[in-house]
């Protein structure tokens, strides 16, 4: 199905199932420990062996020797995979660094060996017996020291130079010129990367934990040099991804190689201390923002220039990107520069680009509002735009940012905020409120599905779409139930298997809208097939309560499959609409913090997000997506930072004790409001993404609240105690 004109009224608009708060259909499995994750498929294949990965002990250089004898002789050891015996390996399209290093080492903890043994304990013990000698080379590990060497990556993000920024900024009566930094961050999803591989002749089956099944089939086939038809990926449950599992990682490739060498099924989970340097992370950024405005608060000039680093051939973190679209300004400069760093591979993490970009931009907007002596909510409203500011002929399909801000301000009690910072105390606590805008584009990606109807009236949906905690199982079931007029208990959803039609996968907050639109397309075909079997006209047919109604006729749906299962398959394909319209999602975050006037400890006391993100397919799971993102935003604001050893080139705090993420005690009760919006430009579902929106801008809202509480402006995330301690107002 081609989607090339805005959606008209369709069966989804009935909203009998879609749009209703629905608990997750897989909830009973997840809460009882019955949902099988990648390392847990004991029954899938017999005789499973265990693989343990050894990571490189240097950041850059070469392996000079590798002694395997002791490990090979250790009890239970079946095979040891290294670059020396792995055969020629390719590199997947989505990987920057090789997944098996040696002799060249590209980053710290790059995999250099896999030890396969009968038991996990034996594999782990033997892995510690491998003796690796290295020759270190010099590397670049500090973004600031290589910042000046950054280059424009035209294909990833070309400079936006619009109007005359320099002239307009110089002429602006009120100016801000400030530089911000965001640190390297880790996905830190709860389930480690894990895979189990089994070969049957030249056919490979992998049970894994992966967000993008079709990409990863391709990349694994490329890496192993085998036809992709010979690769099957199965990933029904994924213990979190946040972008860290968009791509195949060392566990996948090494499980496959280990199983081939050991002639046994092999399962491999990356150990937690290995994950932070072995896998990808969100790259650190430096961002300089300049805003020029008239005295009454109209922005006339805006520059957002950012710098990030990655391994050679890697990616730039598109932090400046939101400044292309978010606020009106006639003169604009938006640029990103990429430098070479020899730290582990930087790559996408939840809301790549926008998350760190909005962390900086929304502090800058707060700073500018203070300079102008305009309320920060009002300042943003003043500079709203309903069109792409660089291409005014291109409107936003929907943009309800002002409503988000106004609704949020009212619900949060923004009028109780003291405009003058450092003016509200409760005992030893300094109290402050902050606001930050949420903004993330809505992407559309082709997505396919297959739908089956059997003679019991059961509808089964099959797609390689994944559920990484996002609620895909449930919204897909809701879509099929709505389209075919059956209850949720009549729908079975099967996901994450490469033998099913390729979907959008889970990434870039496009999965919810696109995968359900793909299911919609397949259901449209199934409705046609049903009507044909029942001998009625599909245009006149209503699918209601397990029946097909045409005039006076009321035929059981299951009758259509009486003579054999009906199967329909289709995909949604998106055309020109995203060029004609800018599709984005919007929100406003409001936060109240208390800062300990003696210690600088920041406690988040209240959080509210108001979102305008198209039709909300399932308010329950959509709300969870947003509160989860708000929680991650608390981490980004107050604690998350991969500490770089600039001498040796690795992330020092590479476990969950050293890399601090929010825990229960850090998070207050959170409120989310969704504005009533449908966006017919986005898809037949009229939905958009919401999972990343909730992260964008929330950290800045916290930073702004800390400023409001203390009068201290911290521009280097995370806002830890040491950055406040010597600047706190005198104790009263």
């Amino acid at each position: 199905m081609k989607f090339d004109t805005p959606a008209q009224t369709n069966p989804i608009d009935q909203l009998k199932v879609i749009g209703k708060a629905t608990t997750r259909i897989e909830g009973p499995l997840k809460t009882t420990g019955q949902a099988p994750y990648a390392y847990e498929h004991h029954d899938a294949v017999a005789n499973q062996a265990y693989g343990v990965v050894v990571g490189a002990a240097i950041a850059k250089g070469r392996i000079t020797s590798m002694k395997l004898e002791q490990a090979q002789a250790a009890p239970g050891v079946l095979a040891i995979v290294t670059a020396a015996n792995a055969g020629k390996l390719g590199k997947g399209k989505y990987n920057t660094a090789k997944l098996l290093g040696g002799p060249e080492i590209q980053h710290y903890h790059q995999a250099v060996a896999l030890v396969v043994a009968e038991t996990f304990e034996q594999a782990q013990a033997a892995a510690s017996l491998i003796d690796v000698q290295y020759q270190r080379s010099d590397g670049a590990f500090d973004l600031r020291s290589v910042q000046a060497s950054g280059v424009e990556e035209k294909e990833q993000m070309a400079d936006t130079l619009h109007g005359d920024f320099d002239g307009a900024f110089a002429a602006a009566p009120v100016q801000l010129d400030a530089t911000y930094s965001t640190p390297d961050q880790a996905h830190a999803m709860m389930e480690p990367m894990a895979s189990m591989a089994a070969w049957d002749g030249d056919k490979l089956t992998l049970w894994t934990s992966n967000q993008m099944i079709a990409w990863s089939v391709d990349d694994l086939a490329t890496t192993l040099g085998i036809p992709k038809e010979n690769v099957r990926l199965i990933s029904p449950y994924i213990g979190g991804g946040f972008g860290g599992k968009l791509f195949i990682r060392a566990d996948t490739v090494l499980a496959a190689l280990g199983a081939r060498l050991a002639k046994r099924p092999v399962k491999v989970a990356l150990t937690r201390p290995l994950i932070f340097n072995n896998c990808t992370h969100r790259p650190a950024t430096i961002q300089r923002i300049r805003i020029g405005a008239t005295a009454d608060g109209k922005i006339t000039a805006m520059a957002h220039e950012g710098w990030s680093g990655d391994l050679p051939g890697g990616k730039v973190e598109l932090a400046a990107q939101p400044s292309k679209l978010l606020y009106a300004a006639e003169n604009r400069r938006v640029t990103m520069r990429l430098s070479t760093l020899d730290l582990p591979e930087g790559n996408a993490m939840r809301a790549p680009g926008e998350a760190p970009g909005m962390m900086a931009l929304e502090i800058a907007m707060d700073e500018m509002a203070h300079k102008l002596n305009i309320d920060p909510v009002q300042f943003r409203i003043l500079n709203d735009t309903q069109v792409d500011p660089v291409k005014p002929e291109r409107p936003f399909s929907q943009r309800h940012l002002i409503e988000c801000l106004r609704t949020g301000a009212e619900r949060f009690g923004w009028d109780r905020r003291h405009a003058q910072p450092g003016n509200q105390r409760e005992g030893r606590w300094l109290i402050g409120m902050g606001v930050g805008v949420a903004f993330r584009n809505n992407l559309t990606v082709k997505s396919g599905a297959r739908v089956r109807l059997n003679d019991r009236g059961i509808v089964t949906v099959e797609t390689d779409m994944t559920d990484i905690g996002t609620g895909s199982y449930t919204i897909i079931a809701q879509t099929a139930a709505e389209m075919l007029g059956v209850g949720l208990d009549q729908v079975v959803v099967r996901l994450g298997d490469s033998s099913f039609p390729a979907s959008s996968g889970s990434g870039g907050q496009f999965g919810g809208n696109c995968s359900t639109a793909g299911v919609y397309a397949a259901c449209v075909k199934l409705r046609e097939a049903v009507a044909q079997r029942l001998g009625v006209s599909v245009e006149d047919a209503e699918f209601v309560d397990g029946h097909v109604r045409v005039g006076e006729q009321n035929l059981p749906l299951r009758d259509a499959a009486r003579n054999g299962e009906l199967v329909a398959e289709d995909a949604i394909e998106f055309a020109e609409l995203s060029k004609k319209f800018q599709q984005s999602t919007f929100g406003a975050h409001f936060v109240e913090v208390a800062v300990d006037s003696a210690t600088g400890e920041t406690r988040v006391r209240r959080m509210l997000a108001v979102c305008a993100a198209g039709r909300i397919l399932n308010p329950t799971s959509a709300r969870s997506q947003v509160i989860g993102a708000m929680t991650m935003g608390v981490g980004a604001a107050l604690m998350e930072e991969l500490a770089v050893d600039r001498q040796l080139g690795f992330f020092v705090n590479h476990d969950l004790a050293g890399y601090e993420v929010p825990v229960h005690a850090d998070i207050p009760h959170q409120e989310v409001i969704f504005l009533d919006e449908t966006d017919p430009v986005s898809s037949p579902m009229k939905a958009k993404g919401v999972g990343e929106l909730g992260l964008c801008g929330v950290s800045a809202a916290i930073a702004n609240a800390v400023y409001n509480a203390t009068g201290i402006r911290v521009r280097e995330y995370p806002i830890t105690l040491d950055k406040l301690l010597d600047k706190l107002p005198p104790m009263s």
């Binding site: 608990t23 997750r24 897989e26 009973p28 499995l29 809460t31 009882t32 420990g33 019955q34 994750y37 390392y39 847990e40 004991h42 002791q70 250790a74 009890p75 038991t119 996990f120 304990e121 034996q122 013990a125 033997a126 892995a127 510690s128 017996l129 491998i130 003796d131 996905h187 830190a188 999803m189 709860m190 389930e191 480690p192 449950y237 213990g239 979190g240 946040f242 150990t271 937690r272 201390p273 990484i468 905690g469 996002t470 609620g471 799971s621 969870s624 509160i627 989860g628 708000m630 929680t631 991650m632 476990d655 969950l656 004790a657 825990v663 229960h664 005690a665 998070i667 207050p668 009760h669």
Partner: protein
């Protein structure tokens, strides 16, 4: 001290030497490669008896096997999750003799005769424990990987408060702790949820406990 040879060396040289001499393998400093090789050449197994979810299991295990791996890899009770294997995330939380523990931080052989309750022992999809049902109702989970640990912890936390065991958040060590959200949040803080379902989890636990979140 006269050490003229060392003086011209840069820190980088020292580091390179250090790598060649000391950090050649990934062994912790207190185990020499030789000692470790000797030990691993004769793995020790022992038989033990575990009571898990009211069922007795006789196992013959490598003594290095953690309780978590005994459950997951030997009994195929994979509800208890391995998130870090270092006691940092709480996903492996089980209840042993009435107390919640990180099952990755304890060896199976230390649990001869222990009565272990895992998530599978609390309830099944057809017969949910009230805490499991509350987590579903309040959407107290997303990816589901930390969820069994959260639920086992939650069940134990309410027991700890009932038994009068104080926490860091308790105003007094001698008065009984209050059944309030702040107490629950403090006690649940060893169970990380990266999806960020905390606000909903506290609502679920509070509902089971009969308090306002």
């Amino acid at each position: 001290m006269d050490t003229p040879d060392l003086l011209p060396m840069s820190r980088r040289h020292l580091l390179i030497l250090g790598v060649v001499t000391a950090a050649t393998a990934v062994l912790p400093p207190f185990i020499s490669a030789r000692a470790s090789a000797v030990n691993s050449s004769r793995p020790i197994t022992t038989s033990l008896s575990l009571w898990v979810n009211d069922q007795q299991y006789e196992l013959d295990l490598d003594t290095r096997t953690t309780l978590l791996d005994a459950l997951r890899e030997h009994l195929h009770l994979t509800g208890s999750k391995k998130g870090c294997d270092h006691g940092q995330c709480g996903a492996c939380t089980v209840i042993a003799n009435g107390r919640r523990i990180n099952s990755c931080l304890t060896l199976a052989v230390m649990h001869q005769g222990s009565k272990i309750t895992t998530i599978e022992g609390l309830g099944t999809p057809d017969q949910l424990h009230p805490m499991q049902a509350a987590f579903i109702r309040h959407d107290g989970y997303q990816c589901g990987y930390c969820t069994p640990g959260q639920i086992c912890s939650a069940v134990a936390v309410l027991g700890e408060i009932r038994q009068g065991i104080p926490s860091h958040a308790s105003p007094s060590l001698t008065e009984p702790p209050q059944l309030i959200a702040g107490e629950i949040q403090e006690r649940m803080s060893g169970n990380i949820c990266r999806c960020g379902a905390y606000s909903n989890i506290i609502e679920a636990i509070s509902e089971v406990a009969g308090v306002n979140a």
